[in-house]
Symmetry: C2
Subunit: 205 residues, 2 copies
């Protein structure tokens, strides 16, 4: 795709560098931006510069926050003895959207992945240990991906936390809502049998 | 979807204002941007501001161009007696990609659409008439959408151009490559019968 202008080319390159956006979509976005006024496009560009320069993280849970301590950590209606460990802020948003969780969080910003050169020092692991040491935490829920890397991270963290008198739990792994048994992989189906729970009609919606 | 930060919220809003990008995709893009360095994000934002402030248009054909006259109009190997009228620069790119056209262009930046309040004065129609009047143009090809608005625009332009001694043509309308006849709409199929061409094995790939 030959573009008629270096400026367009640059703008297309920038959009196409984002995940899931190809050059054709990028061009459509660029042409749509060009229809806006100069002020609107300046606001568009400056929003991202502001974002990068001014973004802050909660000192307690590392969630993105405009204040020193985030809304979730300052909310006294939430259970501060329950900490959910997640990989990323998208996971916080996903869990918040379920409206099933009333504890607080700890965002690792990554999981241990030797293949990608990510070790325990590259994620927010030590601050989790400090929180457990100093705070009134009673339970840590590991809400990490059901992958080799997720499992490695859970193993590492639970080892670090086992000296403290807390409960360490892991989110349930099994059959997803709407899944047909015949299409589920063996590992998931096997786990769902091993980790079967006592039937209670109230827990099945 | 509740976002933990006003800065994130603003950035998501900006991405979500672009066509085809919803809030969930926008959040993914914002979080991907946040992983970049400050310099990279500043380059990202400034690219669009530069684009809007410095973008130029070819004085002859109105195509986007970094120079006063675009590459296509200055190319002496192209046929300057043949002008293809298109709605937008994406159409120029699409036609260039076919590698079947060696003439020059005229970009209208819109088509006449009374429903949207777009009249002949809102598109680059008068400059086309001037080009035909002053230049060595022998044929004008109307490569506009096969819609009510496209047809209205073709009717208007051909009326304006009929006083000059030039050929006015329109790109072929008919069955698209790979189409099965039974799924084609009546208008297209009807037209393809009325506008049938003499069979020549060389023209069918």
């Amino acid at each position: 795709m030959n573009l008629p202008s270096k400026l367009i080319e640059d703008a297309v390159e920038q959009f196409a560098s984002l995940p899931g956006i190809g050059r054709r979509t990028a061009l459509r976005l660029v042409l749509s931006l060009l229809k806006n006024t100069t002020e609107e496009v300046e606001a568009f560009g400056n929003t991202f510069i502001d974002l990068r320069n001014k973004i802050g993280y909660c000192k307690t849970c590392h969630n993105i926050s405009d204040t020193e301590i985030c809304n979730i950590c300052t909310n006294l209606n939430r259970d501060h003895s329950l900490v959910c460990v997640v990989e990323n802020i998208t996971d916080v948003i996903a869990i918040e959207n379920t409206e099933q969780y009333n504890g607080i969080y700890h965002v690792l910003y990554g999981i241990i992945s030797p293949m990608d050169g990510i070790g325990p020092a590259d994620i927010n692991a030590s601050t989790l240990v400090e929180r457990v040491k100093s705070d009134e935490i009673k339970e840590v829920i590991m809400a990490l991906p059901s992958t080799m890397e997720g499992d490695t991270t859970i193993f590492y963290l639970s080892n670090k936390l086992k000296e403290f008198n807390i409960k360490i739990s892991i989110i349930a792994r099994g059959v997803a809502a709407g899944d047909d048994l015949e299409y589920i992989d063996e590992v998931t189906l096997g786990r769902s049998l091993v980790n079967r729970t006592v039937y209670n009609s109230a827990t099945i919606k």
